[in-house]
């Protein structure tokens, strides 16, 4: 598909009912460092640039709830960090909720106020990152994730239960 960034954003501004589309696109272009890319074909952008365009599209209507799937996957560390910073700023300034799916536990630890660990559609854990780390007696969320996924450790508060003792 050969639409430029500006054309793509204009179409989605129409779908989301943004009345001041031109102004909004110019603002987001500047804010997300896309101004120089606005008239380039979206398909020819790098992964990091495409992510920023995707973010601009998601923010066109300044939503109170933002749903993101792996927002920094396949990005270089600098761009990924920049995106995370942007998301935090957006959530704070707009008082928005961001619900995002990620396998990057360092990212989750940095961004999330609340973490839900899922396995085959089942909720295994639902805590703040700090509470989860403390509950499992680990140092990082990644260690907790590996414990849960590999079933190699239990929550500290479950280790004293009779079935846990039997298992060990």
């Amino acid at each position: 598909m050969r639409l430029t960034v500006r054309q793509n954003l204009t179409v989605y501004a129409g779908l989301y009912g943004v009345a001041n589309a031109e102004e909004r696109i110019a603002y987001l272009g500047e804010d997300l460092q896309l101004t120089a890319l606005l008239d380039r074909a979206t398909g020819k952008l790098s992964a990091g640039q495409k992510t920023r365009v995707g973010l601009a599209k998601a923010l066109l209507n300044a939503p109170e709830l933002l749903l993101l799937d792996e927002p920094t996957a396949s990005l270089d560390p600098d761009t990924a960090d920049w995106i995370r910073q942007k998301l935090k700023e957006y959530a704070r300034s707009r008082r928005a909720t961001i619900l995002f799916a990620s396998h990057n536990m360092a990212e989750v630890e940095r961004l999330a106020d609340r973490v839900i660990l899922l396995d085959s559609g089942r909720i295994l854990e639902d805590e703040t990152p700090r509470a989860l780390i403390e509950t499992y007696g680990r140092k990082t969320l990644e260690e907790v994730f590996l414990d849960v996924v590999r079933g190699r450790a239990r929550r500290l508060d479950e280790r004293d239960k009779p079935e846990a003792r039997e298992a060990s």
């Binding site: 989605y12 129409g14 603002y27 600098d78 910073q85 700023e89 957006y90």
Partner: protein, 284 residues
Amino acid sequence: MSGVSLEAGAVVVLLPPNGLGASLRRIGALVRRYMYLLRSSGIRLIELIYWPFLQMLTWGFLQKYLAGTTSPLAQAAGVLIGGVLLWDILFRSKIGFSTTFIEEMWSRNLGNLLTSPLHPFELVAALSVWSVIRLAVSMVPVTVAAYFFFGFNLLSLGLALAAFFAVLVLTSWSLGLVSAGVILRYGLGAEELAWSLAFILLPLSCVYYPVSVLPGWLKPIALTLPPTHVFEGMRSILLHGVVNVTELWWALGLNAVYLSIGYLAFRWFLRGARINGSLLQLGE
């Protein structure tokens, strides 16, 4: 990269999300997207005219040849190019609808569109409007060329032409909806259906010959297809100068049934794709 405050000072003016105005705006946004795509590729534009033009030339020369032979054949020849042009209205409109839908899947954009405020009926409306625009881009130059090359004036069908056009386009949308639904359900592996579905109608709709030619058991089947009534109507005008209004009413009534079935099938397949998550995975 440096961080700057994302939202401070930015004002977003949002229009009401519901109502007719909102629907028209979203349909317009999508049609604008298709317009951008067409404008971005000269080859695409040429391709829209290329095939119908070749088709018209081939059949036009055949008509010219037949017209120079015996009298009955000369009379029949007049309806050939008319049949070709009307068939192309159905076929090109169907292809326009299906190609646009499939391109959304190729570019993995369908999930983006259907997680926006766009309603399925608005997507269908945008595809329908765009199929007519594509059709106009294809057929207007070809119809004009048919007049200059072979002296065939499609407008000689008079007001009935508008009715024929409406019937054929409505039929093409029904076919487009069914093939889009099947592709949603079975993925791009079923895309061949989008290209070939209209051809099922070619022998049964009696594009180049009257219904009376068909064997007895096939006639009722042919008459359940709206285009059959269009081509019978066209022959009635070109050969006898008679506008058969009953044929047109039949065609419109049948179209109402097929279009309803097509839309319901599309919604059913779309619902299935949403529930099993394939909507977000569909693509090349």
